[in-house]
């Protein structure tokens, strides 16, 4: 069971440091694991950063990878979760010719039905934003593609867990070693 490959969301809390991204990605590289998406941002605590990494591996392997990540000096804690244990989203941006918006009626319907937002409109192009699950941003991609996409980009996954991760407590424990 444990050896079956699954999609895991890895959350890593770190201090900010040049080279830490390299250090974390090297752990995946050493084990020949592909990083499917990676996002880094500030976390809920001042000066503590959070990486969200998406990988497909067996549970037995991700457990060991988590320990190797946690072993890095600037890493405060790392966790892995399945999709069921997290609330997660991705954001996609679609740049489309403005002509399509005015000439093709379908496109307005598509935007409305997919609950996407128009971010900006200029005489030449307009930009649509859609936040949601992968299949939702993909569906919108497929619907818009026939109208000619000038540009498309999708962010890495961001997620929060349903259970608490108690980073403040972990930090306290580390301090009172």
């Amino acid at each position: 069971m444990d050896s079956e490959k699954k999609l895991f969301t890895v959350s890593i809390y770190t201090e900010n440091n040049i080279g830490l991204l390299n250090r974390i990605s090297a752990i995946f590289l050493k084990r020949h694991v592909n990083i499917e998406s990676l996002t880094s941002s500030q976390s809920e605590i001042d000066n503590i950063y959070r990486f969200v990494v998406l990988v497909t591996v067996s549970e037995i392997k991700i457990k060991r990878i988590i320990k190797q990540i946690e072993k890095q000096i600037e890493v405060i804690a790392a966790f892995y979760h399945t999709d069921k244990e997290t609330i997660f989203l991705e954001t996609a941006l679609y740049k489309v010719k403005s002509k399509s918006l005015f000439e093709k009626k379908d496109i307005q319907k598509i935007i409305k039905n997919s609950q996407a937002n128009i971010v900006t409109v200029s005489p030449k192009y307009f930009v649509i934003e859609k936040t949601g699950w992968r299949n939702e941003t993909e569906d919108l991609y497929n619907s818009l593609e026939p109208f000619g996409l000038l540009q498309f980009v999708r962010s890495g996954r961001i997620s929060v867990t349903k259970e608490a991760m108690n980073i403040s407590d972990i930090l306290k424990i580390k301090k009172n070693k």
């Binding site: 080279g19 390299n22 090297a26 946690e70 301090k175």
Partner: protein, 560 residues
């Protein structure tokens, strides 16, 4: 105000450093200029290659328990450190490497001797850091020493740009005692210790396998008390060797690929396996699917990442063995296991008859590596520090060398770095100047760092160098013989006159190729109070047994 370069030296002095191995060059010159001024406080040993500096620092660290320090310039100076850093990482040796870097305004411009040593060294360092401002130097060096020696030790690299070395700053040094995100020793859980004690007290056929953790934790005495109270037969990994004297009645020998027959066979018969400060390396376990499956496994370990990494354990006792072993000793009942131990002895008898006797008392004409080690044991009474390289001679030396004292076996275990021994022996001698240091090296590995004879000559460190010459890369040749139908692809070596080379470095040298000369040859070497080189020509195509073929189970160990 002092320069960043001077701050480097003052910081090292604050950390108690009085010895550095290194090699100068453009980007580290300001630091070397300060070393010149502070030569009364810090002895800088100029090795003949930066790799030699790392191995010398490792040898020094392993015998002294102190942090080994290395300095090198940018570019090739820095990349030449990588093998030694990787070796120190896998063998948990505390080391701080300081490299010069091109000036910060040139970073990323492919300047002369610029290389991304932070990027290159990341996967093989416990921590690394680039400094571009002089003001950062004291705090980063303090942090580096703290990280290198705390918890599970390891190598740290600090890369300092040349402008930061020149920049003036106000020097103030505070030792580092805490890094917010780093917990060197995991929380001790008394329930795990209780659970482990319960399992041990119920066991009928327990066995201990200990590793370098016992030595790194300075827990030799605690470990000995535990072994003696429990009466449990104990075996060592290659890096655990010398933590318990060879002659101790509960020392059952080595586990692993070329380990002893008994401990390997009985790994698959014991009911409880107590692993202490070891990491279940594949050379120890053989095939994991048939490794101690019948046994309950207890793992005493400081590094949480090592628990359940290779072998799933029943009880993990996290923490520093110096603390956890005595707690466990208190909870176990005094015991003896005579009947179970007799099983080890019966296997010993078989191994002696089939392997050891012929290794130590050969009837054939060719000299064996084993008889050389036997004579070194006699001449040093088991009091020497034995430094080995990698290959057949290493396995033979570890199998047969006698040790009375801990921190006496210095070898490249995890990385298997040929070329390790000669510079490591220099470092070992400088770290333990009053002890006899004997380097035992193969003819292959010797030639990988042979230039360090120059460093030995220049320092006068009285290292005794024994090259066991079989004119082959012996271990690879053995595998070719056993598993590749004797196709000896690129393993035969046409060797130079090693005696002349040593003499070229003004080192006393001798060559022995007859049994009748061996005892005197070794005795003369040991008696010398100067560096000494002894070449012993051994049987060309001898094999090391016992052997667990790679991928086989520990109990499939072969005696021939």
């Amino acid at each position: 105000m002092i320069s960043g370069a001077e701050a480097v030296i003052k910081s090292l002095i604050e950390e108690g450093v009085d010895l550095i191995y290194g090699y100068p060059g453009g980007a580290i010159m300001p630091v070397y200029d300060e070393l010149f001024k502070y030569q009364e406080e810090i002895n800088h040993v100029l090795t003949r290659h930066e790799q030699g500096a790392t191995h010398a620092a490792q040898g020094y660290a392993r015998v002294s328990g102190k942090v080994g320090v290395v300095t090198a310039t940018s570019g090739p100076g820095a990349t030449n450190l990588v093998t030694g850093i990787a070796d120190a990482q896998i063998d948990s040796t505390p080391m701080v490497c300081i490299t010069g870097q091109v000036a910060s305004h040139l970073l990323g411009s492919d300047a002369f001797q610029e290389t991304d040593i932070i990027g290159i060294s990341t996967p093989v360092t416990k921590w690394n850091c680039q400094i571009t401002k002089a003001s950062e130097i004291p705090a980063v060096i303090a942090k580096a020493f703290y990280i290198a020696k705390s918890g599970r030790p390891g190598p740290v690299l600090i890369d300092i740009t040349k402008d930061a070395q020149f920049e003036m700053m106000n020097f103030k040094y505070d030792k580092c005692t805490n890094v917010k995100s780093y917990k060197p020793v995991p929380e001790l859980n008394i329930d795990d210790i209780k659970e482990a004690a319960k399992i041990i007290n119920r066991s009928k056929k327990p066995m201990i396998v200990w590793g370098q953790g016992v030595i790194l934790g300075n827990a030799e005495q605690e470990f000995k008390n535990f072994v003696e109270k429990s009466g449990i037969p104990s075996a060592w990994t290659i890096l655990g060797l010398s933590a318990l004297p060879t002659e101790h009645s509960l020392n059952m020998g080595m586990v692993g690929m070329h380990g002893n027959y008994g401990p390997n066979m009985l790994t698959n018969q014991c009911d409880v396996l107590i692993a202490i400060g070891m990491r279940f390396d594949d050379r120890v376990t053989g095939n994991l699917n048939s490794y101690a499956k019948q046994a309950k496994i207890i793992h005493l370990e400081i590094d949480p990442a090592e628990v359940n990494k290779n072998v799933e354990v029943d009880v993990a006792v996290l923490g520093d063995v110096k603390k956890t072993i005595p707690l466990l000793t208190d909870l176990i009942s005094k015991n003896t296991h005579d009947k179970w131990i007799s099983k080890f002895h019966s296997f010993d008898k078989i191994e002696y008859k089939k392997v050891i006797h012929d290794d130590l008392y050969p009837s054939k004409q060719g000299l064996t590596m084993g008889e050389v080690i036997k004579i070194i044991n006699k001449e040093t009474n088991g009091d020497a520090i034995i430094v080995t390289d990698v290959g057949q001679h290493q396995m033979v030396a570890c199998r047969y060398a006698k040790f009375n004292e801990s921190k006496s076996n210095i070898t490249s275990g995890g990385l298997g770095t040929m070329g390790f021994a000669l510079p490591a022996a220099l470092g070992a001698k400088m770290g333990a100047p009053h002890r006899e240091v004997v380097a035992i090296i193969g003819d292959g590995g010797y030639q990988m760092t042979i230039q360090e004879l120059g460093t030995i000559y220049q320092t006068g460190a009285a290292v005794k160098i024994v090259v066991l010459n079989n004119d082959y890369l012996g271990m690879v040749r053995q595998w070719q013989q056993l598993f590749f139908d004797k196709r000896y692809a690129s393993t035969e070596m046409i060797n130079p006159d090693f005696v002349k080379i040593a003499e070229g470095y003004y080192i006393d040298a001798n060559k022995v190729d007859k049994r009748s000369e061996l005892k005197n040859g070794v005795a003369k070497m040991i008696k010398s109070d100067k560096p000494y080189f002894l070449e012993v020509c051994v049987e060309k195509e001898a094999n090391v047994f016992p052997m667990i073929p790679s991928g086989a189970s520990v109990s499939d160990i072969r005696l021939d």
